[in-house]
């Protein structure tokens, strides 16, 4: 609470808040409202989306762009892929981050090890995309494989794989890039939480004969659970909005489309559909957002 004895005019709070409020109204609030409006209009943003309906085709009236966003085959692929990312990549990243945090905690060179694994956070998705395109690259024909993974495959007598264009593997190959990028983020936050577990508690459990697995699952995990939840929700939001990796590595081709990339592709050619996809994206993040705000309220109450 602000100290009551400090004198303040009626206008002081306004002056301090005004620049922030103006900029945020123009750049966040107004566009949000406008995006919703555009999502009900046609590709040029002039007439109602209902006018884009075709004779004899299913039509959702003003919600026509949402019909596209939910039923178009390319969009259903994108939705499926985002779900796949959520289901596989988020747990993989969080578990990987937790595992590294636990292991690194036991060695003396922990800071170096953690820096190295955290480093991908500092580079751009575009740069990371280049790094991994190179690793996954395939040489067709006679030439020697210059991509690390295919070179290893050839060395052990297997056929090289077109990691980016083969629909059986490409989504998983992209997720590996995601894990590489974000595991360091999860590790850093989880590591801080693990360090806050009182050493005496762990020591007492070990003296009582608990093995390392029991110590982890019975004592550490319950204590750091709130942090695991925070990291997971953050990753859920990151993955819902996943764009750059897919854009630079496959361009969303070969069945790797995701929601945000679809939105980006339509941004010039069809604003109505593009904005409907954007609204869909926000609608998907709203549950997570409500969760985050309520968590914030809880924190405020306990302050």
């Amino acid at each position: 609470m602000a100290p009551k004895i400090m004198k303040q005019g009626v206008w002081a709070p306004v002056m301090y808040l005004l620049p922030a409020l103006i900029i945020m109204s123009i750049f966040v609030v107004f566009p949000m409202v406008n995006t919703v409006r555009l999502s009900f209009l046609d590709s040029k943003g002039q007439f109602s989306a209902a006018t884009t309906c075709l004779e004899g085709q299913p039509c959702w009236g003003a919600f026509e762009n949402y019909r596209y966003a939910l039923t178009n085959p390319e969009m259903t692929t994108a939705l499926k892929n985002n779900a796949l990312w959520l289901l596989l990549m988020v747990p993989a990243t969080v578990i990987m981050g937790l595992l590294i945090a636990l292991l690194a905690d036991k060695v003396k060179y922990e800071p170096i090890a953690k820096s190295l694994i955290f480093m991908p956070v500092a580079i751009s998705f575009i740069g990371a995309g280049i790094i991994w395109r190179f690793i996954y690259s395939i040489q067709s024909g006679e030439g020697e494989q210059i991509g690390l993974i295919n070179a290893i495959l050839v060395a052990i007598g297997k056929e090289p794989v077109a990691w980016m264009s083969s629909p059986a593997v490409n989504n998983y190959a992209l997720m590996v890039v995601g894990v590489w990028l974000w595991a360091g983020f999860c590790m850093t936050i989880l590591s801080a939480a693990l360090k806050s577990v009182p050493a005496e508690v762990l020591e007492a459990a070990r003296v009582d004969g608990a093995n390392e697995f029991q110590v982890f699952f019975r004592i550490m995990l319950p204590i750091v659970m709130p942090t695991v939840v925070v990291v997971t929700t953050t990753m859920v939001i990151n993955v819902l909005k996943i764009f750059d990796i897919v854009f630079v590595m496959t361009g969303g081709n070969f069945g790797t489309e995701v929601i945000a990339n679809r939105m980006f592709k339509l941004i010039v050619t069809d604003t109505g559909r593009s904005m409907a996809i954007a609204v869909l994206l926000v609608a998907l993040t709203i549950p997570v957002m409500i969760f985050n705000v309520s968590r914030f309220r809880q924190q405020e109450r306990s302050r």
């Binding site: 602000a2 922030a20 292991l103 751009s124 210059i146 983020f185 850093t188 750059d244």
Partner: protein, 409 residues
Amino acid sequence: MKPFAKLNKFLKKLPVHLAVILMCLMWVLPTLGLFVTSFRSREDVRTTGWWTVFSGSETQEELAGFDEYSTYCAPCHADDGQGVEGIDLFGGNVLAEYPRGNRLYLYLKEPLDGEPHVKDPPLPETPKEALDIVNPVHSYMAEPKESETFFGQFSANNYLDALVGYKGTKTYAEDCSSEEASALTKFSCNLADDLANPEGMGRAFINTLLVTIPATILPIIIAAFAAYAFAWLDFPGRQWLFALLVGLQIIPLQMTLIPISRIYARLGMQDTFLGIWLFHTGFGLPYAIYLMRNFLGSLPKEVFESAYIDGADHWKAFWKIALPLAMPAIASLGIFQFIWVWNDFLVAKIFLATKPVLTVQITNLIDPRGQNWHLLTGAAFLSFIIPMIVFFAFQKFFVRGMLAGSVKG
């Protein structure tokens, strides 16, 4: 007994050490590969994996064109290229006179002393088949015949090419040093001029700096004011407004691109630095206000009270007390925002298309056939240098900023 105890302890921990080191290797290897590749020549990158640099240079028999040379040329010119009196095939004179394979081919078609130049065995009749032999021989003649040293296989040419935006098949330096070739390129070969090439990474580097620095400072200043009001001023709806701002953090950037670009188009702010600074400010603010308010709110109330008793007003308290004390938070925030804006692609792609920043320029360099890895690896590493320095120098602040906050973007 002591040494055994130590050994025992080490052995017990061995699996942990192995696991940690293995993970570190897995995480570093991709970037290391990119780094090594960025110093290798175009030809090397195209033909061999980057890990081969550690296994020594290739022998003569492995060089492209060796078989063709031994079959068609070696009978007269010998293996060392000096079999004919006064002519040294590997000395460079032949290459200078016939800089391309097809020119060498035309020369070889001309009779020598009334007889075909190549007669035992003769070159194939069709030009295409003959060129398939002459071209490898030509490149074989260009290969240095003495074995290379380890460091001899590396050069900074890719970086120079990326900086000036040279997309040809040789290198910028090579093209500019040969007289006739310089007429073919669109470069002036004056380095200062060429670095300004809008298609090069050099120019993109400057653009990125011009975007990033104001887009880092602006939101921090504005957020500091707002955070001070939220922490130390009393006004109706304070909690409510603050919760709203925190909630706005979750709005994805994608939601706002089109409406903003429409406003910009109307105001003539499309493709201006001002436009992108303001956009990044708008999106940096929610998180910045959140972090700053939490930090300022945790400062002891007594500091402000005693300042007030000494006659300071809010304006003074803000500048003289709150800001200096908030330096750690400002550092965290600054580094966070700096790296975020530096690495941004989507916003720059849409609002600053004609003045590409590093990330956008890299995507412009991508060759879908994968023929310019040498250039891309150099370009990517150029874009890493600054964020990596910032990251390793200020990692502590970066981590602190991350721990304090939640989601960005």
